[in-house]
Symmetry: C2
């Protein structure tokens, strides 16, 4: 198994956004949708051993499982529509449970720390993607990694303090969009037979 967790700093937490303006009115939801694509798609196939967690404003987490998901398409708009359905599902629900909104898509009132803790309980080891840190090429990776990334904005200092002590990796010498990092990580893990 492997997982990708992406924090969307400005992402919507209610379903009242238009699919016609993902970068603006929907708080750069386009960035998160491309991360879903990079996490789960092969050419004409899905990565069944991968899941992706979209953490919306550190309040809600949408989890999409490659094992279970149905009706997932590669484009940004249809992926945003699945997020919208998930937000509609949880709108009237206050409890801590994870609710399935469409097959293989769950949503819960979960922060980044809580989403990470849930993955660790399942055996995952978090790894933080961070520019200028250890290069991916030579790095030893845990057998069941959960890669932590931020959207177009950097993690705030308080958030970074929570992530202190995690293994840190960079995929290359420049600063890349999260979805590019995910594509590179998936391909590198494939090469290693992970």
């Amino acid at each position: 198994m492997r997982a990708f967790i992406v924090l969307g700093h400005k992402a919507p937490t209610s379903p009242e956004f238009t699919l016609n303006d993902l970068p603006g009115a929907a708080g750069r939801l386009d960035v998160l949708c491309r991360c879903v694509n990079a996490s789960l798609f092969l050419s004409h196939d899905l990565r069944r051993d991968v899941e992706v967690h979209l953490v919306l404003r550190d309040q809600l987490t949408v989890r999409i499982s490659g094992t279970h998901v149905k009706r997932l398409n590669p484009d940004e708009r249809s992926t945003a529509a699945l997020v919208k359905k998930a937000l509609r599902r949880i709108a009237s629900h206050d409890g801590p449970d994870e609710l399935e909104s469409t097959p293989g898509v769950w949503i819960a009132r979960r922060t980044l720390a809580e989403a990470l803790a849930s993955l660790q309980r399942r055996g995952a080891t978090p790894v933080l993607l961070s520019e200028g840190s250890e290069p991916l090429a030579g790095a030893t990776l845990p057998p069941w990694p959960a890669f932590v990334l931020s959207d177009h904005l950097d993690f705030e200092p308080g958030k970074l303090a929570q992530l202190e002590g995690l293994q840190r990796l960079s995929v290359g010498p420049r600063v890349y969009p999260a979805s590019h990092c995910i594509a590179a990580l998936n391909i590198e893990l494939d090469r290693r037979g992970g």
Copy 2:
């Protein structure tokens, strides 16, 4: 310099398509838009030494130059809107010239072979992305590579015959969406200092 050339088998060649259905009515234009993103974007920056050519149904080629482009955003919809403007620009023009539709975006009545020839005249060496061929990791690359990719459909046998004799590369052991290959190639070339 480096370039990416992507053939869109079902892509639109007239501007009469809706931005609300890029995968369907617009013939998987979403795939090509993600290729533009993977080719040209860094985090909060553009790759000024890269250009991307979108070959629409082997009839028209939209060329976007990282050196010159303005008003390019990372999301699929706004990139598709630039392609639509390019198609509008060329609609009433029959000649072979390349027309600039918006800053840094050109369109011409050019096939894949013609787009490749124009790059070769400028000093580029074409490299074909092809599953199961030489792994990228150990491969020697030309100093000014022009990577040739297909969208969600494979190259047809006649087209492959035209591409016979080119260096062939694969980015990993599975079959990847074109945009994932481009992200991996860009990062690998960055690592090599290319």
